[in-house]
């Protein structure tokens, strides 16, 4: 196995998932993930601390996603039909309900500013700490906090009914 392939093999899954979460478009996520590794190939000699290669790749991806969002202002997830359907074992009714909730959440995330979207995804979905997000984005922790706080406020408003549903579920449980 070649050296470059080893790096790609290790990070491609995480990079693709984040790209898809950022764009909600399989084709775009594929294109951006590929571009991340092309950038890695071009600039690998600039990498001074290999321990942070994962953060470095995420930073490249987030920057590419932000650039992409500037080109394509607003995309609704109803616009694309080519995304792969997740594999599920739920009953049709439960599956439809989950699918509706998922679409609402994704649409709400997609409507955020790309910088806020990146922070939300890295924090809530990737599970990174604020310090780690600051490292990925190359911004101070204070900036990460204010973006997270702003995004949180917007999401609470847009997803008020979904969050209420979740709260009911939690209380029932």
């Amino acid at each position: 196995m070649e050296a470059f392939d080893a790096l790609v093999e290790r990070y491609r899954r995480g990079i693709y998932r984040l790209a898809f979460a950022m764009t909600q478009d399989h084709e775009v996520a594929d294109d951006l993930s590929q571009e991340v590794f092309v950038q890695l190939f071009r600039r690998i000699r600039q990498l001074r601390s290999p321990e942070s290669v994962g953060a470095w790749l995420r930073r490249i991806l987030v920057n590419l996603c932000i650039k992409h969002s500037r080109r394509v202002r607003h995309v609704s997830i109803e616009d694309e039909g080519a995304n792969p359907e997740p594999i599920t074992t739920d009953t049709p009714f439960v599956a439809a309900e989950k699918s509706m909730v998922r679409d609402r959440v994704r649409q709400a995330i997609l409507e955020l500013d790309p910088r806020e979207r990146a922070v939300v995804l890295l924090y809530y979905i990737e599970g990174l700490k604020q310090v780690e997000i600051a490292d990925v984005l190359g911004r101070p922790v204070g900036t990460v906090w204010s973006r997270l706080s702003s995004a949180r406020g917007k999401l609470r408003v847009r997803l008020a009914d979904v969050i209420a549903g979740t709260r009911d579920g939690v209380e029932k449980a």
Binding site: M1, E2, P50, I163
Partner: protein, 383 residues
């Protein structure tokens, strides 16, 4: 005691269990007496649960099969551009290396070394150089392989080792092959001395281009791949074949001309043996036949010279003078309309045999003049 703004800032970290014991106790102490902040914790928890269930779906199962192939085609394009920018210094290095190698190989020092070690010795030295290059390449390759461990620290070694592995073989092979191509084409061109000059130049250029282009294709292909061995493509093989075809045609052409030019000289030696054996008639017939067959060879003068000598020995002065006279006419005709590309050796040899012909006619002045010309040509460096 913390105030509400401080606690609300810490709530996300609190919900994820990221706070230290001290900080967590302080937050919990505040929450016990503050319904607003407690409500904020509930809302954060709900939001976290809502969002954390939204991890992106995996792509279709066969998606990853094509991922590396597509990525490779994109990185190839990148390397192609980099190679395009870098090929000029590479070509210059190769040309300078080629000139240095050619100069060394043509130097008298190399000739002395070759005399001492012989052709087999030269092959052994070339083999040693090849093995040394292979050793360096293999060592760099092993460093890359050794770096493919699971821990992150090996990546550092990988990044350091990779450029060495990628750079050393193309540079070495470019210098070596361009040098060899220059050497082979110059040797072939100078060896084929009787082939017309323009044909020689064209064929020598084809020899050089064949090797150089083939080497470049292999080098580019090697750089575009992520390591491994340099491999030939059908196109690079076609260029090697072109180089060998040009080389062979140059050599075969030279050999056929050599055979045609040397034929009268060989006949002359055989005829002399036949004459000494007492068979004058056969010797004369052999010489006449050779003169008729190869009238354009500069060596034909040797046949006229022996013919005149035989007639003279037989006591036939008229025929002898006629033979010498025909020889001198042939000499003047050959000088005026040369059929072959004469070397200095050819011109010297012709002058020498023509002086013998003039001697036979008793023209001492002309014979001396041609002997002096022969001496002058002998003194020329490439004689």
């Amino acid at each position: 005691m913390m105030d509400c703004s401080e606690v609300q800032r810490l709530i996300p970290a609190y919900c994820r269990g990221e706070l230290g014991d001290d900080m967590r106790c302080q937050v919990e102490e505040h929450l016990a007496g503050c319904p607003t902040c407690h409500d904020e914790v509930d809302r954060e928890e709900c939001l976290r649960q809502t969002l954390s269930g939204q991890a992106a779906d995996d792509p279709p199962r066969d998606y990853w099969d094509g991922f590396n192939t597509r990525l490779r085609s994109r990185t190839r394009g990148t390397v192609g551009v980099l190679w395009g920018l870098g090929c000029l210094p590479g070509a210059l290095i190769g040309l300078v290396g080629g000139v240095i190698i050619s100069t060394l190989l043509f130097s008298s020092a190399f000739a002395r070394v070759l005399d001492r070690i012989g052709f087999i010795g030269l092959l052994i030295v070339a083999l040693c150089i090849g093995l040394a290059l292979r050793f360096i390449y293999k060592r760099a390759d092993r460093r890359v392989s050794a770096s493919l461990g699971e821990d992150e620290s090996t990546l550092k070694r990988l990044i350091r080792a990779n450029p060495i592995c990628r750079a050393i073989f193309p540079v070495a092979s470019t210098i070596f092959w361009l040098g060899m191509a220059a050497y082979i084409s110059v040797i072939a061109a100078s060896h084929a001395e009787h082939v017309p000059i323009m044909t020689r130049i064209v064929l020598a250029i084809l020899v050089f281009l064949g090797f150089a282009v083939s080497c470049s294709i292999s080098t580019v292909r090697y750089i575009r791949s992520d390591g491994g061995r340099p491999r030939n493509t059908p196109i690079s093989r076609a260029f090697i074949l072109l180089a060998f075809a040009a080389l062979m045609s140059l050599n075969l052409w030279q050999m056929s001309i050599d055979d045609a030019m040397d034929a009268p000289s060989k006949v002359r030696h055989r005829a002399e043996s036949v004459y000494k054996a007492g068979n004058t008639r056969s010797a004369i017939a052999m010489l006449r036949s050779s003169i008729k067959k190869q009238p354009d060879s500069p060596r034909v003068l040797e046949c006229y010279e022996l013919l005149g000598k035989i007639y003279k020995d037989k006591g036939q002065p008229v025929q002898a003078r006629a033979a010498y006279g025909e020889g001198i006419q042939a000499y003047e005709r050959l000088l005026k309309h040369p059929h072959y590309n004469y070397t200095t050796f050819d011109r010297g040899s012709m002058a020498f045999h023509a002086s013998e012909l003039y001697d036979g006619l008793g023209n001492e002045r002309k014979a001396d003049e041609l002997r002096r010309l022969n001496d002058r040509l002998w003194a020329e460096p490439d004689f």
